[in-house]
């Protein structure tokens, strides 16, 4: 894999559009051409040479290109948007919309990511080795379809509305998730190793949410089905035992919640409703 190293000269003061920084865009271009590519900084068009120094070499095919970006990219949004192949590694934190509508390839963030990681993505892998913001794996505002496929891995914590309107694919979170996890979910799988906030799976119609940690409460519109010793996420066996709830019945939904029995003694009274 050819490596292309970009280094941010100085953290930008105004937001920068990072859509241009994808293997699809940079493959097959010389270093000079790459430096002359334009993007938006605030409301001005700037050349990449104003923002980055570039080293290494580009590949002819996007799938052979590995872009490594160094620096504080918290003001850079839409990084890797609509990418279909190749790999991007960010050594630092990034802004919003990482992997927006991406269809393939890999993005690794060795730092934190802001909100809307993998918004509307339909394939590929996003790995965040820090924390992520709100609405990971959701859909664009107003659309009724979130992430459709692919995998999002977050080592740390995530914000609210994780997997909002999600339709397919998998999200794994190593830390905690905030309120409204899996709201309006229509498919796919969410796995949270830590605790989640309230309103888990509100208005979900399908899909699966597995929580290993504490859940403050389960919405009254979820029925308890059974206690299961273990479950599977993408073929990996996860040891339980788990309370299994289904809902949200206000939407006629058939979503499944797998909630750790051990960490949630306050849900014991629900066991009486298992038939």
């Amino acid at each position: 894999m050819a490596e292309l190293k970009l280094k941010l000269k100085a953290p930008p003061q105004t937001p920068v559009e990072g859509e241009v920084l994808t293997p699809d865009n940079l493959a097959g271009r010389s270093l000079n051409e790459i430096l002359n590519l334009e993007t938006w900084r605030g409301n001005r068009r700037v050349k990449l040479s104003e923002l980055f120094t570039v080293e290494g070499e580009s590949a002819s095919k996007p799938s052979d290109l590995h872009i490594i970006i160094e620096g504080d990219l918290r003001k850079v949004r839409h990084l890797g948007a609509r990418m279909s192949a190749g790999k991007i590694t960010v050594n630092g934190s990034v802004g919003t919309f990482v992997g927006f509508e991406m269809t393939g390839g890999t993005i690794v963030v060795n730092g934190d990511a802001d909100a809307f990681v993998g918004m509307g993505m339909s394939g590929g892998v996003i790995e965040v080795n820090g924390n992520a913001g709100d609405a990971v794996g959701s859909g664009y505002w107003g659309t009724r379809c979130g992430m459709k496929g692919g995998l999002i891995l977050v080592k740390g914590n995530v914000g609210t509305a994780l997997g909002c309107w999600m339709k397919g694919g998998t999200i794994r979170v190593g830390g905690n998730a905030d309120v409204f996890t899996g709201v309006r979910m229509q498919g796919g799988t969410i796995f949270v190793a830590g605790n989640v906030g309230a309103k888990l799976g509100a208005a979900m119609v399908d899909g699966k949410i597995v929580v290993l940690g504490n859940v403050p409460n389960i919405l009254p519109s979820f029925h308890i089905d059974e206690i299961r010793p273990n479950t599977k996420v993408d073929g990996d066996k996860i040891e339980g035992p788990f309370y299994v709830f289904h809902g949200d019945i206000t939407e006629g939904g058939n979503g499944k919640l797998f909630i750790s029995v051990e960490k949630n003694p306050h849900l014991k009274h629900r066991e009486a409703y298992i038939f």
Partner: protein, 566 residues
């Protein structure tokens, strides 16, 4: 500035010019007999199609419901945005474009006059705000009267003269252009639990029927001599079997007709030409409606063509939007405008494989093709209800080419093909007929004598398309037609070049037309204090704050009413 457009093929139906090679001279914003060729800027438009600027009489481009559509559909915009460039401001497009983009995109299509067909009187201040922002095009708005308590009470009490005085006062106060009626009485009846108001069913609390409202308003329209006939969106829109209601509405005012002048414009008839009893037996009755319109000169219609794809429906017909929401279970916005009207907004995706949508697509084209006189059927998509106005070129290509229609017909469900007559219609519009239906006739029905033609003295609103009407056969080369009409080679507005080669090069402010309607002074003197008193009882705003001063309009263009029609 003087211009001379040389050697174009001019199509100007008002002056009976059909694809003749002519020069058009422009001076000081008007079309003139000739200009001094040495002084004027000569533009060679050899072998191109020269038409008057397009006139669209029904397109929801401004107002509070349009803005609700913008606000609650971010997903409509994010793939279609425009970056600031040259004279253009940035903006977003698609089914509910932002105000500036609306102006630019209409100009690129060669349209120079567009009327917003539904504004609740109370919210017209907002409508004018947005109309002020829409650059280039001339525009106006039609206030809604079909569910107005004042109007219904006057009609109930048989006080037509007072009703006329009220409407004249309101038209002047809020700078409206024509009487718009949406689901007469139906929006009011919905507040009492009636979701489908029949044309001859009494409206609760008022004790009158929609028939009386429509008849009353047509009489008032004649008394006031408003330039445009009553613009009606009929009852039971969108419901299978509603073609009967449409025919009843048209027939209800037949005896009020005088001469050949249209007294009723029934709008987006595609949505009110359905047969069957439910969506399974849903069928087209476009032929019945076309038959009626062919025989009766007192009605005109526009088609409200459906375009397959994603769009936003928005209408003052609140109950209809509620029904649509119950079918689709997506997003829904609803509003009740005090004593005046209601409104609703629901996004929809028209799908080619959906039987109902496919039949709707056929009905619009059937109407346009079966009504013989292009002076009485106008091409619209009821933007954005049937589809965005940017899709007009596609509709033109379907009307001008049977081949283009058949290409779509092949892909719609077999049942839709079988149950409609579109497959048997061979008629194809000519450039001349297209110019009538999109410019000449619409300008005429709106009462704009200096629009829609290229005669001497007309406003220099000109659209030039890069297509040779003598060489191109639209029937076979419908794609060339579509391309040519989607990017005007040149659009001129009031003698100024606005669009050159599909790019906007200037964005002046367009006029806002309104009718300076007047009723007999003695009647108004009685009515206005009465209205003021009722205002205190009914409205949340003060009577004094209701009035919109003329200075509020960016470019005010008052129009005097016509001689009243007895």
């Amino acid at each position: 500035m003087e211009y001379l457009l040389k050697n174009g093929y001019v199509v100007d139906p008002v002056n009976k010019i059909d694809c003749e090679r002519m020069d058009i001279a422009v001076k000081d914003g008007k079309i003139v007999e000739s200009v001094d060729e040495s002084k004027a800027k000569v533009i060679d438009v050899k072998n191109m199609l020269v038409m008057p600027g397009g006139v669209d009489l029904h397109s929801h481009i401004a107002g509070s419901k349009v803005n609700v559509g913008r606000l609650f559909r971010p997903e409509d915009h994010y793939k279609d945005y425009e970056v600031k460039s040259g004279v253009r401001r940035s903006g977003v497009g698609h089914s509910v474009p932002s105000t500036f983009t609306t102006g630019y995109r209409y100009a690129i299509l060669g349209y120079t006059t567009v009327f917003e067909p539904a504004t609740p009187p109370l919210k017209t201040l907002h409508t004018h705000d947005e109309l002020n922002d829409i650059p280039i095009i001339d525009k106006a708005c039609f206030p809604l009267f079909g569910n107005n308590w004042f109007v219904m009470e006057y009609i109930r009490d048989g006080k037509l003269e007072e009703c006329a005085a009220y409407i004249a006062w309101l038209m002047r106060s809020i700078k409206g252009y024509a009487i718009k009626v949406v689901d007469p009485g139906g929006v009011e009846a919905w507040k009492w639990g009636i979701t489908s108001q029949d044309f001859d069913q009494e409206i609760p609390r008022f004790g009158i029927t929609p028939r009386e409202i429509v008849r009353g308003l047509v009489k008032v329209n004649k008394m006031l001599g408003l330039p445009h006939p009553v613009h009606v969106h009929t009852n039971q829109l969108g419901i299978p079997g509603n073609y009967k209601t449409t025919l009843k509405t048209m027939d209800a005012v037949k005896d009020l007709a005088t001469g050949d002048r249209s007294i009723l414009h029934v709008t987006h008839v595609q949505f009110n030409a359905y047969g069957g009893v439910d969506y399974l037996s849903f069928s087209s009755h476009a032929d019945d409606i076309a038959d009626y319109v062919n025989k009766n000169p007192h009605v005109t219609i526009d088609i409200g063509q459906v375009i397959f794809g994603d769009t936003t429906t928005m209408t003052a017909d609140g109950p209809f939007e509620y029904k649509l929401f119950n079918l689709l279970r997506g997003k829904w916005a609803n509003a009740d405008v005090e004593v005046e009207t209601g409104a609703g907004v629901v996004p929809i995706t028209y799908s080619r494989s959906n039987y109902v949508h496919a039949v709707m697509w056929c009905i619009g084209l059937e109407l346009a093709l079966l009504i013989k006189d292009p002076w009485r059927v106008f091409i619209t998509t009821d933007h954005p209800n049937g589809g965005p106005f940017t899709e007009y070129p596609r509709v033109f290509s379907w009307l001008m080419s049977k081949k283009a229609r058949e290409r779509v017909l092949k892909r719609i469900p077999r049942l839709a093909r079988v149950r409609t007559n579109l497959k048997d219609i061979d008629r194809e519009y000519t450039f001349y007929e297209l110019a009538i239906s999109t410019r000449a006739a619409t300008a005429k029905i709106l009462g704009l004598s200096n629009k829609g033609h290229l005669g001497v003295g007309a406003d220099a609103d000109i659209a030039v398309y890069n297509i040779n009407p003598k060489e191109v056969n639209p029937s076979a080369d419908y794609k060339i037609v579509m391309q040519a009409f989607s990017r005007a080679y040149l659009t001129m507005k009031d003698g100024e070049i606005i669009v050159k080669d599909g790019e906007v090069v200037a964005a002046p402010v367009g006029r806002t037309y309104w009718v300076n309607a007047k009723a007999p002074k003695d009647v108004e003197d009685v009515v206005i204090p009465e209205v003021k008193k009722r205002f205190e009882e009914y409205y949340t705003v003060k009577f004094e704050n209701y009035h919109i001063p003329e200075s509020y309009l960016a470019c005010s263009a008052p129009i005097q009413p016509l001689e009243p029609l007895g």
